[in-house]
């Protein structure tokens, strides 16, 4: 189960990365086609869906990896026992919030399928297709948060704390802005 979940987060992150490459390729392609006189308005819609997909598919992986920013002043000055309590409270709040997000993502993606909402731009495509990335990503994020909650409940250090510590120890700051 552990390995399955970790792979799922990672592969979903890879999928997000592919969409970023796709954005780059689509944009360069669009500007070249435009020079050749092809009408390329539809590419803009596709790029915006790629952009959403890149973010949504990666959410669980980025969360696990410790990239989601939070204020750590209080956490870092707390004693280990209190720190654990604070982490638990944060994770509990987080799991409720992401459950709500996942529910609303699924519900309204389902609604757009049911009512057959079409994209308003140059490319008439049912909106539920790109919105699936949101539904999937939000559910996976919720799973990741609950996963962390149970890890901390069992007394382990949260993965996102460990990942950041390891990265900074190696002198890698590329994920920080």
């Amino acid at each position: 189960m552990r390995r399955l979940l970790d792979r799922l987060y990672l592969w979903s992150g890879y999928l997000g990365a592919l969409f970023i490459v796709a954005i780059c390729v689509a944009m360069v392609g669009q500007s070249i086609l435009r020079e050749m006189g092809v009408r390329t308005g539809a590419v803009n819609d596709v790029v915006s869906w790629f952009c959403a997909a890149a973010a949504f598919f990666t959410m669980a992986h980025a969360f696990k990896h410790g990239d989601f920013v939070r204020v750590t002043l209080m956490l870092e000055s707390a004693s280990p026992a209190n720190r654990r309590r604070l982490e638990l409270v944060s994770l509990f709040i987080g799991s409720v919030a992401t459950a709500y997000l996942a529910w609303s993502a699924c519900l309204f993606t389902y609604e757009s399928w049911e009512f057959n909402d079409m994209a308003q731009g140059m490319l008439p495509m049912p909106l539920w297709i790109p919105q699936l990335s949101f539904a999937f990503g939000a559910v996976l994020l919720w799973v990741a948060v609950v996963d962390e909650l149970q890890l901390v409940l069992r007394g382990e250090t949260p993965t996102f704390v460990r990942a950041v510590e390891e990265r900074h120890a190696k002198g890698d700051f590329s994920s920080d802005i």
Binding site: A17, V71, F173, D176
Partner: protein
């Protein structure tokens, strides 16, 4: 409850959750939900969905991951070594000598990178050991690197500016253009301080490198060609009209990849690492933007920003006083938050206030970027301090103290652009025509 009391309650909840360590994006969305569920008659679930979807499925925002990627690729190349070598021969005669490589290096790297931590780390990696080896003053070098590293977000492209432009619904290209002159001004201030310091402490400036002939200098400057070529390439694509400002980011990635390939520093492992880092960083930023978009909806439904803007307006503060108050607020926020969160968190409330007081949104963008730069070098969570702490093993408070003179240069820059807003607005107005 009055509208302002609701605003106060939401602020209280936000501060409580933030200080407890709840993730910033989630905190924003939770506050948005509380506001909508209890104080409006809309459907929070539906609004949450549309806020997340509409904010992330955005063509303009698609430039963001690409600018992040460009920085990630260049961070893994030999660009910074080449830059140091290329700049070195020209600085022997100037008081302060090689110390200026920190400022110039960060400035040049800032024009291809959009992140301040990456700029600081890239330039420090090379300049710091070289300067120490030659016996330059460590304190000035550290302070200069920490602060000049923040040029990465002031000189375009800049991730922070893209985020601001999306949050404020302003033109990305306009705000990029607005960043150039303040960026040069800031570099002049930093270098000016180094010159002044060196003249006062000539004993602490080591001897010059052996003199070289003019031809040797030119030859060594060839090292600057890759970086220069990249800048020229991206500008050319934009100005010649082949690409829009957003697509320019894609050409930046292509150019950086080509540069990395050419200098043989691109491996599959490198490429993949950079790409995954990019994906996570962009996801983090976009998640915050989505949470903020939901909170912005709440703000629109409850009318809190309008009330607040009216209230501030009724106090008859002079514009300077308003800016002074905001500066203090951002300095306080900056002690605990990173720059992007700071901008996104406040834009829904502060921007209406600013517009009502008659400030230009582009000008305010540059102002806020400068404040973010200050936040990066002030403890306890200044990020550049953290980068240098890890690279040198020095305590971050020592580095913060070393950065104080340069910090003052940032303050002077803020005062200058407030007194002479033309420094910011001149270039975008000339290139794109005055804003309506």
């Amino acid at each position: 409850m009055t509208t302002l009391a609701i605003g106060g309650l939401l602020l209280f909840i936000m501060l409580l959750l933030l200080s407890g360590g709840v993730w910033i994006a989630m905190t924003l969305a939770i506050c948005g939900w509380v506001g909508q569920a209890f104080f409006t008659s809309t459907q929070p679930g539906k609004n949450l969905f549309s806020a997340f979807w509409e904010s992330n499925a955005s063509w303009e925002l698609a430039a963001l991951p690409l600018f992040v990627w460009m920085g990630e690729i260049l961070f893994r190349t030999k660009l910074s070594e080449e830059m140091f070598e290329g700049l070195r021969p020209w600085l022997n005669r100037i008081p302060g000598r090689l110390m200026h490589t920190t400022v110039l290096g960060c400035g040049i790297f800032g024009s291809v990178s959009g992140s301040s931590a990456a700029t600081c780390a890239t330039i420090s990696k090379v300049a710091l050991p070289e300067l120490m080896k030659r016996g330059y003053d460590e304190k000035i070098a550290l302070g200069s690197l920490a602060t000049a590293g923040t040029l990465g977000i002031l000189i375009p492209p800049s991730i922070t500016m893209v985020v601001y432009a999306v949050a404020a619904d302003a033109s990305i290209i306009r705000i990029f253009l607005a960043g150039f002159l303040p960026g040069f001004l800031l570099m002049a201030l930093f270098s000016g301080y180094i010159i002044w310091w060196s003249l006062r402490h000539p004993e602490k400036v080591p001897a010059a490198d052996p003199p070289s002939t003019f031809m040797e200098k030119i030859k060594q400057s060839g090292n600057l060609i890759p970086c220069g070529a990249l800048i020229v390439f991206v500008c050319w694509v934009l100005i010649a009209g082949y690409a829009t400002a957003t697509e320019c980011a894609a050409y930046g990635v292509v150019g950086s990849l080509a540069l990395a390939l050419w200098s043989r520093s691109l491996t599959w492992e490198n490429f993949w690492e950079g790409l995954m880092g990019t994906t996570r960083t962009s996801c983090m930023i976009m998640f915050i933007l989505a949470g903020a978009a939901f909170l912005t909806k709440t703000m629109a439904f409850t009318g809190i920003p309008r009330e607040l803007a009216d209230w501030v307006n009724s106090m008859q503060l002079s514009p300077i006083a308003l800016i002074a108050v905001l500066t203090v607020v951002y300095l306080i926020l900056g002690t605990a938050l990173d720059g992007i969160s700071m901008i996104v968190l406040t834009s829904a409330v502060v921007l209406p206030m600013i517009q009502k007081a008659g400030f230009d949104l582009i000008w305010f963008g540059i102002f806020i970027v400068l404040l973010v730069e200050i936040a990066e070098v002030t403890p306890p969570v200044g990020f550049n301090l953290f980068v240098l702490q890890n690279m040198t093993g020095k305590d971050s408070n020592t580095i913060a103290k070393a950065a104080i003179p340069f910090f003052m240069c940032l303050v002077v820059c803020i005062v200058l652009i407030t007194v002479f807003p033309q420094i910011v607005t001149y270039l975008p107005d000339v290139v794109m025509g005055a804003d309506k």
